[in-house]
């Protein structure tokens, strides 16, 4: 009976994982196919030739794009962690007049869609002469209401006694933040970091808006350049580009899976 149960369980797991993974596998297969093979709807390429990969590196400065994406994503990730954790600390451990009001005002900005603030943000960046710079691409994303909210909820679970004890022990406000609050919220920080990194990695419109040449452009714009509008698109080359672009994110996911899972489930249980 137990064997049966396990068998069914594993069968379902395998089927769902195949369904989930199919798009990536198909993209992987297409990256080896020629134009005719793709359009006639084949699932497996006739030969595993690397032509498309050669073409994609030939056509685009893909390495530069990858480095830019890394710099921008890491920048946003670190910026968000610093700004959000400090803000959340203030909202939890420092009492001042109108704290709750400011907090709710802050949270309510989550209701404003990003697209609505895009144009004012763009003008700010333009006036600062930050077009084609890393700071123009990262800075507008540092203050994240969602991140502050996530960390605030976690900080609230830290017992008041701990705060009082640290005060008695003579820790400064910053010492308490740095040596007590941050270490105990590691999982939430990892979750927020991964979230920030991945969303930035996948961003398209903002990097396109604030860059006018290839110097600081990210991979997503590179992928867009591979697709044509009126002329037939060479999907093989596009998919080769996609595979190259998702490898770093997949690696990150595999390496950080344990932490990420812990962070997400802990958040969910609370």
């Amino acid at each position: 009976m137990r064997v049966w149960k396990k068998l069914i369980l594993y069968f379902l797991l395998i089927v769902t994982s195949i369904i989930m993974f199919f798009p990536i596998i198909y993209a992987f297969m297409i990256s080896f196919m020629t134009g005719g093979e793709i359009l006639s709807g084949k699932l497996l390429p006739s030969t595993f030739s690397l032509d498309n990969y050669v073409k994609v590196f030939d056509r685009l400065p893909l390495f530069n794009y990858l480095i830019n994406s890394f710099v921008v994503s890491l920048g946003v990730m670190l910026g968000q962690l610093v700004v959000c954790s400090l803000a959340a600390y203030a909202f939890v451990f420092i009492s001042f007049k109108g704290r709750d009001f400011i907090f709710f005002l802050f949270i309510s900005t989550m209701m404003i869609p990003w697209e609505a603030t895009m144009i004012p943000n763009f003008f700010t960046i333009q006036k600062l002469d930050w077009i084609n710079t890393y700071q123009g691409m990262t800075l507008p994303f540092f203050a994240l209401a969602f991140g502050t909210f996530l960390l605030r909820q976690h900080f609230k679970t830290i017992p008041k006694e701990l705060h009082e004890a640290s005060q008695i022990a003579g820790l400064s406000k910053f010492g308490f933040f740095f040596r007590v609050v941050l270490p105990v919220s590691k999982t939430s920080l990892v979750t927020l970091g991964a979230y920030g990194f991945l969303t930035t990695w996948n961003m398209y419109l903002w990097p396109l808006l604030v860059t006018t040449n290839n110097s600081v452009r990210t991979v997503q714009i590179g992928l867009k350049q591979l697709q044509s509008q009126e002329v037939a698109t060479e999907w093989g080359v596009v998919m080769a580009g996609v595979i190259v672009v998702i490898i770093p994110t997949l690696l990150l996911l595999f390496l950080g899976q344990k932490q990420l899972q812990k962070g997400l489930t802990q958040g969910a249980l609370k």
Binding site: G35, G36, L39, S40, G41, R59, K97, G98, F101, L105, I119, P120, F122, F123, T124, Q126, K127, I131, L205, L208, L209, T212, N213, N214, I221, K224, Q225, L226, Q227, S228, Q229, E230, V231, A232, T233, E234, W235
Partner: protein, 455 residues
């Protein structure tokens, strides 16, 4: 006490908000002025060797970008006065949006590629220098360029932008399927009723007879080839259009044509994506469909069967008028340094030479805007191998110049095309042809009205 302090705080917050808004306003106006002042000083970016550097914003991705980058590199190597930097800015829509936000400032490029339906918007925007000024100054001979392409971009007898990548629709068909259905593969159906008959014969269990991408451009072409106008005021060229006229008899003809086949089950609807309808054709799910001339070469290279190209169909009771060109043209910015404009003009002239146009035509499938390119040996050789390319050029050159084939000029074209897409989708769902068309016309009228008011 607490309450009042809370209100006081709120008031303070509001006040600071206003102050902020006011600040940004004054900021923007002052720095805009700064930008203009900077322009009057005519600062020109130069390379170490003293070449004038200009940027060229384009929306060519994929094969078009590869070809364009090579042409730009050749131009830079061909002389030692100018350096053009070609920079990709996203799709046509995205790059136009970007241009809107930087137009008239120092971040604006010297040359921008804008799609054909953005023509009216660009003219009204005020940040472009009509190309005509340079043509007159330089005594450039316009007659060497393709008349039917120039017609589109000529407004009030002025050529505003230099045509660059131009395409028209063509009808592609599966010759093998024609043979299998007992039709003559060398003679494609020409009129609406001939296409309907052929579609009925071609239909098998897994193959539909005819299809058209659900995209406003093809509908515009079906109307224009019957001599019908899209909007009033002579297609918007005599003055600002105020009303859509595509729901007249010509538009209804086109809708009925599609409706007849749809009801008979010989029409295949493959949605709004170019790649989807092409995949359907290549995998034998549809025997005839309309595509852009720029896509023809890719289809022929990849199709596992023989592909035929033909003129787009027209209504039986009228004579064929021809096609309106689509694609994009190059616009020169106003308010930039004279040296930069000179550089832009030199580059545009370089682009229109027969050798470059021949190369462009062969590498991308777009038309050569300079017809003498077709006399080049490499084009002749290529036509020998793929005679279908010649069909697309013949169709353009046999077009009768008229207001209908000159193409409509309205600033809200993207919105109007969206209305047509909705109308086509409704038609395929079974809505009455006239009713669907009227709804689209009404939506277009509303958009035009708003645009004219806010102009």
């Amino acid at each position: 006490m607490r309450k009042s302090s809370k209100f006081g705080f709120l008031a303070l917050l509001l006040l600071s908000l206003f102050a902020l808004v006011a600040c940004t306003n004054s900021d923007s106006s002052s720095s805009e002025k700064d930008g203009n002042e900077g322009k009057t000083e005519k600062e020109v970016v130069t390379t170490e060797e003293g070449k004038t550097v200009i940027s060229f914003w384009h929306a060519m991705s994929g094969a078009g970008q590869t070809s364009l980058d090579a042409i730009v590199a050749d131009f830079n190597a061909s002389q030692d006065k100018y350096e053009v930097q070609a920079e990709f800015q996203g799709s046509y829509e995205e790059s136009l949006t970007k241009l809107r936000s930087v137009g008239g400032t120092k971040d604006a490029p010297a040359i921008t590629q804008v799609f054909e339906v953005g023509t009216k918007y660009m003219i009204d925007s005020g940040f472009v220098e009509p190309i005509q000024n340079f043509i007159d100054k330089d005594k450039y001979d316009l007659s060497q360029l393709e008349e039917n392409i120039l017609n589109y971009y000529t407004v009030d007898d002025q050529l505003y932008s230099m045509p660059f990548n131009s395409s028209t629709p063509v009808m592609l068909y599966n010759k093998d399927a024609f043979k299998a259905a007992g039709l003559d593969p060398e003679k494609a159906p020409e009129t609406f009723s001939e296409v309907i008959d052929a579609a009925a014969k071609l239909k098998t269990d897994d193959m539909k007879g005819f299809s058209m991408l659900t995209y406003g451009w093809f509908f515009e072409e079906l109307v224009a080839t019957q001599g019908g106008l899209y909007v009033n005021e002579e297609n918007g060229r005599a003055g600002d259009a105020t009303e859509a006229t595509f729901n007249g008899p010509e538009g209804l003809n086109a809708f009925n044509f599609l409706d007849t086949m749809n009801k008979a089950g010989t029409f295949g609807n493959f949605g709004t994506n170019w790649d989807d309808i092409r995949a359907a054709f290549q995998s034998g799910k549809v025997a005839m469909y309309m595509d852009s001339s720029a896509g023809v070469k890719g289809i022929i290279d990849n199709a596992p069967f023989e592909v035929g190209a033909a003129y787009i169909p027209y209504a039986d009771e009228v004579k064929r008028n021809g096609v309106v060109i689509g694609g994009a043209s190059l616009w020169m910015s106003k308010g930039i340094a004279e040296a930069e404009q000179e550089a832009a003009w030199e580059f545009m002239k370089y682009l229109t030479t027969p050798e470059i146009q021949a190369r462009w035509h062969l590498e991308t499938g777009y038309f050569a805007i300079n017809p003498s390119a077709y006399e080049e040996q490499n084009v002749k050789d290529a036509w020998e191998v793929t005679p279908q390319l010649k069909v697309t050029v013949d169709q353009l050159q046999s077009t009768e110049p008229s207001i209908a084939t000159q193409g409509a000029l309205i600033s809200v074209f993207p919105e109007s095309r969206q209305q047509i897409v909705t109308a086509l989708e409704n038609l395929y769902q079974g809505m009455d042809a006239q009713e669907a068309l009227d709804a689209a016309a009404e939506g277009t009228n509303r958009a035009i009205e708003i645009a004219n008011k806010t102009k």
